[in-house]
């Protein structure tokens, strides 16, 4: 079972590399190099701040775009190319196919993020001339970004399991945006009464809470993050992704592929 999932994951990773997904790293490198040189010349005292803010925002956006656009095609593309039937005709369960696809894309995003993280630290080193203890929190912010990617990948896969690529992209993107404002939605729920309050509270628990995973501003200002937050955020992201994946499996298991 594990080896079947691993093979599907490795295949997904290979396919992403073949699709020139990692080419985004060139754009990212150019962006950061340009920013590092540029801010070094025009700003005073905020070079580090700008590089962290810009670098981590770019890591996040590039990754989310990749997660959405690759994720939405993971199932539908296989059906369209009819390669899914070849896979499923072998002793591979449908849930193993979904799990393999999920791990494959998550792996691609982790490798991509690691390369971009190296770029952020290189730019940081260039503008500050040295790295200090507070820069370790940047690593935590990057880890949280990876957790975001894991959730987005699971969501894209869920929509891809029953919907067209275009609609899947729209749904996933909408959930990403609403998840970014999840804490505002919580505030909104607190201000409302009756049925609206029930509705808003339900939405808070249904949509992913990306705002808790966005600590870019905090780490850019060198503020430490609590170990508790790291632990509970990790647990939340993994359990939420598990819920989404099990729903994707549930739908895909019952889907008529004829």
């Amino acid at each position: 079972m594990a080896s079947r999932i691993f093979h599907i994951a490795a295949n997904t990773f290979r396919e992403a590399v073949r699709d020139r997904v990692l080419y985004n790293l060139i754009a990212f490198a150019l962006l950061l190099t340009g920013a590092a040189i540029f801010v070094g010349q025009i700003s005073i005292e905020i070079e580090r701040l700008v590089v962290i803010n810009l670098g981590l925002t770019a890591v996040s956006l590039f990754g989310v775009v990749i997660a959405i656009f690759i994720g939405i095609g993971l199932v539908s593309k296989e059906i369209e190319k009819r390669t899914l039937y070849t896979v499923l005709s072998r002793p591979v369960a449908r849930w193993e196919f979904i799990a393999g696809k999920f791990f494959g894309l998550s792996g691609t995003l982790v490798v991509n993020t690691l390369c971009m993280a190296l770029g952020v630290f290189a730019a940081l080193l260039y503008v500050s001339r040295n790295l200090n203890g507070a820069d370790a929190w940047v690593l935590v912010a990057i880890y949280f970004i990876v957790l975001q990617f894991v959730i987005v990948t699971a969501l894209a896969l869920l929509f891809s399991s029953f919907s067209s690529p275009l609609l899947s992209a729209v749904f996933t993107f909408c959930l990403f945006v609403s998840g970014t404002f999840a804490e505002d939605l919580r505030g909104f729920a607190q201000l409302t009464h009756g049925f609206t309050r029930w509705l808003a509270t339900g939405a808070i628990y249904a949509i992913p809470n990306f705002s808790a995973l966005n600590v870019i501003s905090q780490v850019a200002h060198g503020e430490p993050l609590s170990g508790q937050l790291i632990f509970w955020n990790s647990a939340y992201a993994l359990v939420y992704s598990l819920a989404v994946l099990s729903l994707a499996i549930l739908i895909f298991e019952r889907r008529n592929l004829k």
């Binding site: 505030g187 909104f188 705002s211 937050l229 509970w232 099990s246 499996i249 549930l250 298991e253």
Partner: protein, 308 residues
């Protein structure tokens, strides 16, 4: 068979993990109380925020306005006197959308009101409402709000001027003209204050502003009644050459029908110099006259000097 087993397992896994994620979200939320609000400490520049909003600054202004209401409500709920984020939040909101009238109207009131009803920053409130007027010169409500802030500062001339400017705006409420005249002629009188606060109480839909007006009206009533009682005490002094020892003495002498009660249901108090004051001054944040001599208001919990 195998498929049915997978479906059952996936269903179980979905239910358990969905419930688990709900519980975990609850824990994460508890760790990050007010994290979203504290973001204004990181991005306090409206220009930068506008650029980051990628053109959707109207939507972002609405989000920030919701944050203002949430923050103000939370501080009021916890009876905190620290409203330090109120001005930066309002500044961001109104710069993102200069035509968001409620942000100036309610924001001005929230900023100007004395703690624990607001930030106690009347100059910031004037700045905010004046900028609202500059951006929306045809909205009479803003002049009305500005007049009120000046009235509360006892700058009756400026208040009359604001009401007068507002009364000249097309479709302005005719009441503004009366307010302008009343402020110009009888600015410091209790009945003017009563008229203005009654107007706020009757016209507002916002519960916090209503509570604020109610607090003012209660304080005005207490001040008025204490003033009337002091007249009776003064008359007693004139007749007997001494002040009564208590209201009970006045009641026994049938000068008063009983012990007078203040608007909160406590007995009015009387000192040796014939000064009348309320029984529980801490619950009258807007009272001005009927206070015990040398009274200092008790600081509210979590109070800190608001930042300007």
């Amino acid at each position: 068979m195998r498929r049915r087993r997978t479906t059952a397992f996936a269903t179980l896994l979905f239910v358990v993990s969905a419930m688990g994620s709900g519980l975990l979200l609850h824990t994460v939320d508890r760790l990050r109380t007010r994290a979203t609000l504290n973001q204004v400490l990181y991005i306090s520049s409206p220009k930068l925020l506008k650029a980051l909003s990628l053109g959707y600054h109207g939507l972002l202004a609405d989000v920030y306005w919701t944050r203002v209401v949430q923050y103000y409500g939370e501080q009021r709920h916890t009876r905190s006197s620290d409203f330090s984020l109120l001005w930066p939040l309002l500044n961001l909101t109104t710069q993102l959308d200069p035509h968001l009238i409620p942000a100036y109207q309610f924001g001005g009131t929230f900023l100007a009101s004395r703690p624990p009803y607001g930030a106690g920053l009347p100059q910031r409130a004037i700045e905010l409402v004046e900028s609202g007027i500059r951006n929306n010169p045809d909205d009479w409500h803003l002049y009305y709000n500005l007049g009120f802030i000046y009235y509360d500062l006892k700058d009756f001339r400026a208040a009359a001027d604001a009401f007068d400017r507002g009364s000249r705006v097309p479709n302005a409420h005719p009441f503004l003209k009366i307010m302008a005249a009343q402020c110009a002629q009888h600015g410091g009188e209790l009945r003017t204050a009563q008229m203005l606060w009654s107007a706020v109480y009757e016209t507002t839909k916002d519960k916090y502003i209503r509570e604020n007006a109610e607090g003012h009206l209660r304080a005005l009533k207490a001040d008025f009644e204490a003033q009337e009682l002091e007249k009776i005490v003064a008359a007693f002094h004139q007749q007997t050459g001494r002040y009564p020892s208590s209201f009970a003495e006045l009641a026994r002498a049938r000068i008063l029908p009983g012990i007078p009660i203040d608007p909160l249901g406590n007995q009015f108090q009387l000192d040796r110099e014939g000064h009348v004051f309320v029984g529980d001054p801490d619950n009258f944040p807007f009272i001005e006259r009927a206070l015990p001599s040398g009274y200092l208001p008790k600081p509210a919990p979590g109070s800190a000097r608001p930042r300007g």
